[in-house]
């Protein structure tokens, strides 16, 4: 600002275009440190974000590790066709969408409910303590949580011990080796890890609801539940919709870290999701082009989902990301 102003004041400008050019040069020179600082960031963004975007073209090529990307021959949509013909496709899609659906169905409302009830606690100290404890698991890695789960679900683990003690089961069950238990394990452990953390944003939103509304509701004779339902919940509607848009657009992100830690060859039929499939075919089996094509399909679907969720939310309650 000040640099631009100074340049304009001191320089009589014979031709506007020439003057503008000289001003621009002058401004750039004045902010040379600033430009260097910014351009270092731009360089990082280009290298680590845009070069991989360019690298996506290997999905349309037959890339082999000894070639460079530009030398690899074009094959058109062959890699995409191969994925559609793959017998794994239905299973992979089913697992991805199925787990996400249940995560959304159970994992999305629970933190809202938790925040609503936490907000109703009268003791401030208890409220703080509950909060502190509930976010703790968010800071532990999935590797550690995978270890904890493996300990719990082991043959000699606490779950089998309790169920056998209560004579509900006779033989210990190897839960992680049974595909039928896999989704429940994923969904439950995800909620366990993120419940408290996800509630923070809702708590912040609840804190922003005007106290006047509660007073008015009290005068009208509203009870605790009624206030929660008719005052608090509408008050955080905007936050809920924004987070719902984000959750929808992340539906295909089936929590790679979590599944990678918990899956094994025995539960594969329930644990193989798109991200795992991309990792397996690409990095483990070195089918680079094919795997990049699958990854590209996934990104495109995710983008479309984001746009749809955004426009629906815009129509319904005038809240949107962009």
């Amino acid at each position: 600002m000040s640099a631009k102003l100074g340049a304009e004041l001191t320089q009589p400008q014979p031709h506007i275009s020439e003057g503008k050019q000289r001003t621009l040069l002058r401004r750039l020179l004045n902010q040379k440190y600033l430009q260097v600082m910014a351009l270092l960031g731009v360089a990082w963004i280009i290298i680590f974000s845009y070069i991989p975007m360019y690298g996506v073209i290997i999905a349309f090529k037959q890339y082999v590790i000894t070639h460079s990307i530009s030398d690899a021959p074009w094959v058109g949509l062959e890699n995409f066709k191969a994925f559609l013909d793959d017998d794994e496709l239905p299973k992979v899609i089913w697992n991805t969408l199925g787990m996400s659906f249940f995560k959304l169905l159970i994992g999305f409302p629970l933190p809202i409910l938790f925040a609503l009830f936490l907000n109703e606690l009268r003791s401030l100290r208890l409220k703080k303590a509950v909060q502190t404890i509930s976010y703790l698991p968010h800071f532990l890695s999935w590797v550690i949580l995978g270890g904890i789960l493996a300990t719990w679900l082991a043959d000699v683990g606490i779950i089998n011990h309790i169920l056998m003690g209560l004579h509900i089961i006779k033989e210990p069950i190897s839960y992680l080796a049974e595909p039928s238990y896999f989704w429940s394990i994923i969904i439950t452990s995800d909620i366990w890890k993120e419940l408290g953390w996800s509630a923070i944003i809702y708590l912040a939103a609840i804190a922003g609801v005007s106290p006047d509304l509660y007073e008015a509701a009290t005068i009208d004779g509203a009870g605790r539940f009624q206030k929660m339902w008719y005052v608090t919940l509408p008050g955080i509607k905007g936050t809920v919709s924004i987070l719902f848009i984000l959750a929808i657009s992340g539906v295909l992100n089936s929590n790679f870290d979590q599944i990678l830690v918990l899956r094994n060859s025995l539960n594969e039929s329930a644990s193989n999701v798109i991200d795992i499939y991309v990792y397996q075919t690409g990095l483990v089996n070195s089918r680079y082009s094919y795997s990049a094509a699958v990854g590209l399909i996934k990104s495109l679907i995710a983008l479309v989902l984001l746009l749809i969720a955004n426009s629906v939310s815009k129509k319904l309650n005038e809240t949107s990301l962009f």
Binding site: M1, S2, L24, R27, Q31, Y33, L34, Q35, M37, A38, L40, G41, V42, W44, I45, Y50, I51, P52, Y54, V56, I58, I69, F117, L118, E120, L121, R122, L126, V130, T132, I133, S134, L136, F139, L140, S141, V143, I144, G147, A150, T151, W152, I158, N160, W192, G196, A204, P211, E215, T218, G223, D257, L260, V261, G282, L283, Y288, S291, A292, L303
Partner: protein, 295 residues
């Protein structure tokens, strides 16, 4: 405001039930961690029988001795400490520096730069092209793979920018009159007044660096360069008996089992986060608010 209300019997019941629910949530959250802790302090062979819920049945610290004697685990721990300290310092400095430049309205090209960054929030090349990039940059099997690709993040940049825009212009102008350039203004003025947001981002990134196992798993083959989480991943998810055997130095008693070493390693790995947690907690809540309001 609530004090004005008379408490009815219904209210009291509601409060009682609410407190019980909240205590139940706390118990469910903490108990799995406690369970691992007590089992790790139990003698290994005995723990195999199961049924240890509240307190070690046969107390033993032998698993921990084995962990601290194992050169493999200690090397991995050293890599983790190094990448967390170095990675976090560089991430915070670099991202804040770029954010400061991007946040200045007189910056020529500001709109284009920010647009370039915003696009990356919605598109990316995916795993395979990214892997090929890392390979072409010669970062495979290189310690710098933990540091350089992680030194910038556009989400963090937005949080920094939001904060920097609140800083009064007068502070910078005074320094400029004294002849300071933009870099020294950033280092001497902006960084010191931005400690709350710096602490928040440092905490987030520190936790990321500490917990990240994927980078070590994908891009590192040299066992001396793998971080502790990757090490743990290999023994937790793949139950690799080779790693376990390597972890146990000779002369360790038979009471230690691979399971008990696994538990002890998990506890040792988690400890720094649990210990730092109460001190850092007040920062991250504030930081998350800054991020969530605009983001």
């Amino acid at each position: 405001m609530l004090k004005l209300n008379r408490r009815t019997a219904g209210d009291a019941t509601f409060d009682a039930i609410n407190v019980i629910i909240m205590l139940a949530v706390c118990f469910v959250t903490l108990y799995p961690i406690w369970y691992v802790l007590v089992n790790s302090f139990n003698e290994g062979q005995d723990a195999m029988r199961g049924g240890i819920y509240w307190w070690p049945r046969v107390f033993s610290i032998e698993s921990y001795q084995a962990v601290f004697k194992s050169s493999g685990i200690m090397t991995a721990m050293g890599v983790t400490v190094a990448k967390t300290l170095l990675g976090t310092a560089l991430h915070v400095f670099f991202t804040a520096m770029v954010a400061y430049a991007f946040s200045r309205r007189e910056l020529v090209g500001q709109k284009v730069y920010i647009l370039l960054g915003t696009v990356t929030l919605f598109f990316n090349g995916g795993l395979i092209p990214y892997y090929l990039l890392i390979r072409d940059l010669h970062l495979l099997d290189n310690f710098l793979v933990y540091i350089i690709p992680a030194m910038f993040n556009f989400f963090d940049l937005i949080i920094f920018m939001t904060f920097f825009r609140e800083i009064p212009d007068g502070l910078e102008e005074a320094a400029r009159i004294d002849g300071a350039n933009d870099l020294s203004i950033f280092v001497r003025i902006i960084i010191p007044v931005s400690m709350p947001v710096i602490a928040t981002i440092a905490l987030f990134h520190g936790v990321y660096q500490w917990n990240d196992y994927f980078t070590g798993m994908i891009y590192i083959n040299n066992m001396d360069l793998q971080p502790i989480q990757t090490y743990l991943y290999r023994i937790v998810a793949q139950s690799s008996s080779n790693q376990m055997a390597a972890a146990m130095p000779g002369g360790i008693s038979k009471n230690v089992t691979s399971q008990s070493i696994k538990l002890a390693t998990m506890v040792v790995t988690t400890m720094p986060i649990v210990l730092a947690y109460p001190f850092l907690q007040k920062y991250f809540v504030k930081g998350l608010m800054i991020g969530s309001i605009k983001g």
